[in-house]
Amino acid sequence: MEAKDYKSSLKPIWCPGCGDFGVVQGIYRALAAIGRPPHEIAFISGIGCSSRIPGYTTAYGFNSVHGRSLPIAQGVKLSNPELLVLCAGGDGDGFSIGGGHVPHAVRRNMDLTYIVMDNQVYGLTKGQLSPTSPRGLKTITSPYGSLEDPINPLLYVLAYGCGFVAQATPADMPGMAAVIEEAIRYPGFSFVNIQSPCVTYGEDEQQLTEHKKMMKPLKSLGHDQTDQLRAMDLARAYGKELYTGVFYKNPNPPPTYEAMVKLRQAEQAKGARPRERVLDMYLQK
């Protein structure tokens, strides 16, 4: 399979210069490297600019309900564990409207990859404050500047025990594609926060030209990706430093939820009543 095999004929309508153009290219590359055919992939999203992304791939896609991509993706995975399940959306979709679903998806640990395109603003609805907007940001809903600190997506998922946590930027296409590939290959819930700038409402210092200057690949810092505490320490710099690469990868991934369900079903099947005797439970003898 080649990257082009995952590109649909639908043309993206994102604003010219949007970071999401690079993200979808990175996803094509990662999927090509994995090699699963499009019909074995389900791509679920919520609502927002970035949530349009499943339509730009040839995988099965569901541009679902605002903030509900993770519950739907988990349902898809549980009903057909053989599928490669990707889930994507923006920072508002994931950490505001859908924020309550994230910890449960993390602790449930299904084998799916959650990609958040974090642009620190609600772009589709014309530039309101989002959960990852920096303190002081002026928007239509914070005309005098935000009084809140942003949510830290990296620390958030690490704190709930996520087995694979990474960050990337389309300013480093090879690095981003490699991180997405590694996340998909991780046997469990994996999270990739992609700093994907909004060209229309985003701040100048959040654009890709700035990313190119400020990004610090974790590999070049000699970070040990199996060190969870160090990963949390580095994640605290979210919003101040742009670390890219894998923050944490559990060297001993625990069994996934769907694997445990399968085991439970196998155990219970042993004591199950044969189909022809099911009605015996309700019949008086």
Binding site: P16, I34, K126, Y201
Partner: protein, 175 residues
């Protein structure tokens, strides 16, 4: 393959030619994408320029493809587009709503500079003498393309001092 970076030092001549073809193909397709984006977002002049670049990159691609065919016939291709990351293709963030033709030409110039830098860097790793010769030639071509783009820029009327964004409706969420 996949997301693993390309090892330039091990390229054979046929692979290098295929790579050169794919670099032009990638640039052609990116210009097509940017032209589509800008047409959709009411920036027709820059879109027209990018559309013109589609034709130019296709011409370069075809010339290299013909050369490859002449030298190696139908020999199977072993390099893929997946090994490339925006060698001569303009970066996605080069496009902007209401960008002028001047800005579009400058984006194109940066892409030619990027391609030149790629071949210059590659020459530091290439061992095969035939591949070296090819890359020297391609590097020189990219330098020539830069000269052509600069000449086109010089032919344009003076750049307007007006920023179209000052005269368009502000995005609702901004001051």
């Amino acid at each position: 393959m996949g997301t693993t970076p390309l090892d330039i030092s091990k390229l054979t001549l046929v692979q290098a030619l295929d790579l050169a073809v794919l670099i032009e193909e990638e640039a052609r397709d990116r210009y097509e994408e940017l032209a589509d984006q800008l047409s959709l977002h009411h920036t027709p002049e820059a879109a027209a320029f990018f559309k013109k670049m589609v034709g130019i990159e296709e011409k370069h691609r075809q010339a290299l493809a013909d050369r490859r065919k002449k030298a190696f016939g139908d020999q199977k291709r072993t390099v893929t587009r997946d090994l490339l990351f925006d060698v001569e293709a303009p970066d996605y963030d080069e496009a902007r709503v209401f960008m002028s033709v001047h800005e579009a030409l400058r984006a194109s110039l940066r892409s030619e500079e990027k391609a030149h830098a790629f071949f210059a860097d590659a020459l530091g790793h290439v061992k095969d003498p035939e591949v070296r010769h090819l890359f020297e030639e391609l590097k020189a071509e990219e330098a020539q393309h830069q000269t052509l783009v600069k000449a086109e820029l010089a032919k344009l009327p003076a750049e307007s001092k007006v920023n179209p964004l000052d005269y368009s409706d502000d995005p609702v969420g901004e001051d």
